[in-house]
Symmetry: C2
């Protein structure tokens, strides 16, 4: 079934006007007929079934009918990723949505890509990935911040898994298993050239920092982000064994 993220509040029988792009997608691309059923979510009110309806011509809308799944909070996981080149950053955003990160923070580091991040495009990628993966919210993407500012304001209650390429950290699965539980988490991924020595020192000195290694090979940033989120989900998130 088609799933759509909708910004409006969702309640039974209250019609929601569709944006032009959404109408085009449902009516022209997916050929949904009047009365056809889709699933909608807004990050607050759970997943609803909704029927396509004509509002005043030429507009279309959706009428929510019943709640299909109640809203459940996902794991409290932030992904902090250095600005890397566009195509790889887009991969990271898509995968963070699939792998259940709640927020994505873009970080400016010494070796980060100097190009500006296209936030509307990244938001569109996150929304589409959230629709397809079945989650009931869209990860929030924050505007780029400098690493120094992020670390200076760090809440020590939020554990910061730091993927350290320099090879002195324990393997990630071990670091994750051995650390005490925390209610909120973050994963920090550096740019292609890694963090500088002074950045690494500052990260390691941040309260809550958990250095973790990702194997003997050098990983691209997008790979490191996906692998780190996967291992975190398996140990502390919703991929845990019973």
């Amino acid at each position: 079934m088609i799933r759509l993220f909708i910004a409006s509040n969702l309640s039974a029988d209250r019609p929601i006007g569709l944006e032009k792009a959404q109408t085009h997608y449902l009516v022209d691309v997916m050929r949904l007929a009047e009365g056809g059923e889709v699933a909608v979510f807004n990050g607050r009110d759970g997943e609803w079934l909704a029927r396509l309806t004509r509002m005043s011509r030429p507009d279309w809308g959706l009428v929510p009918t019943v709640v299909a799944r109640p809203q459940l909070p996902g794991p409290d996981l932030d992904l902090l990723v250095a600005l890397i080149r566009r195509s790889r950053l887009e991969t990271v955003v898509e995968k963070a949505a699939e792998l259940g990160a709640r927020r994505i923070r873009l970080v400016i580091t010494e070796r980060a890509n100097p190009a500006r991040a296209n936030l509307p495009r990244l938001n569109a990628i996150a929304t589409e990935a959230a629709e397809q993966t079945g989650r009931m919210d869209v990860p929030e993407i924050l505007a780029p911040e400098s690493l120094a500012q992020v670390l200076a304001a760090w809440d020590g209650q939020r554990r910061l898994m730091f993927c350290d390429e320099a090879g002195e950290a324990p393997m990630a699965i071990e670091a994750l298993m051995d650390c005490p539980p925390a209610a909120s988490w973050a994963i920090l991924i550096g740019p292609e050239g890694g963090f500088s020595a002074s950045e690494r020192g500052r990260i390691r000195a941040t309260p809550g920092a958990l250095p973790a290694g990702l194997g003997p090979r050098i990983l691209r940033s997008d790979t490191a982000a996906i692998s780190a989120m996967t291992l975190w989900q398996a140990q502390w998130g919703d991929w845990r064994g019973t």
Copy 2:
């Protein structure tokens, strides 16, 4: 340091002729001068340091000087991936090289993408990723085979981790932890629409099959491949804790 995969045998002081593309990369792109040092590997003789040298004009070559790292076999892990659309298949090949898969087998399934795989391009992607990630071999990519043939000829000694979207399998980390050790492994990833019911039945009935779930969200095939290889590396491969 620049790393190059070289097909030739490597031994001390025996010059190796460079292909045109390699010469262009070293001399024109990277501006390496005569006597400049690179690392080379061929999948058999370890990683060597080598110096750029002029052969007969206009050709350039490399002269291996010393072994920098001995050849060590990587983990015996095959990645079997259904033919998916081009850009995502290319991502899978790049990531399989980074994540240490030894071989990549392309599989034709009921819902696979009918387009032909471009093996030379996939090999080039695997080679470049192997050069960058620091491994000492390039994963071999086999020509597409039908799933039925692959399963019919399956060697039951090779454990087959099967990423089952249908939700009846234990979580991957649990399935991996609970299964007895095996000397050789494979991971099987389906196409975007998943395996058909009859394909799933046939996979589950294959000797050595290990059904494993990848969390509560629906993953794209490239994400599933990366996550599954990561979890395998953390449990049985070279990302294990001590």
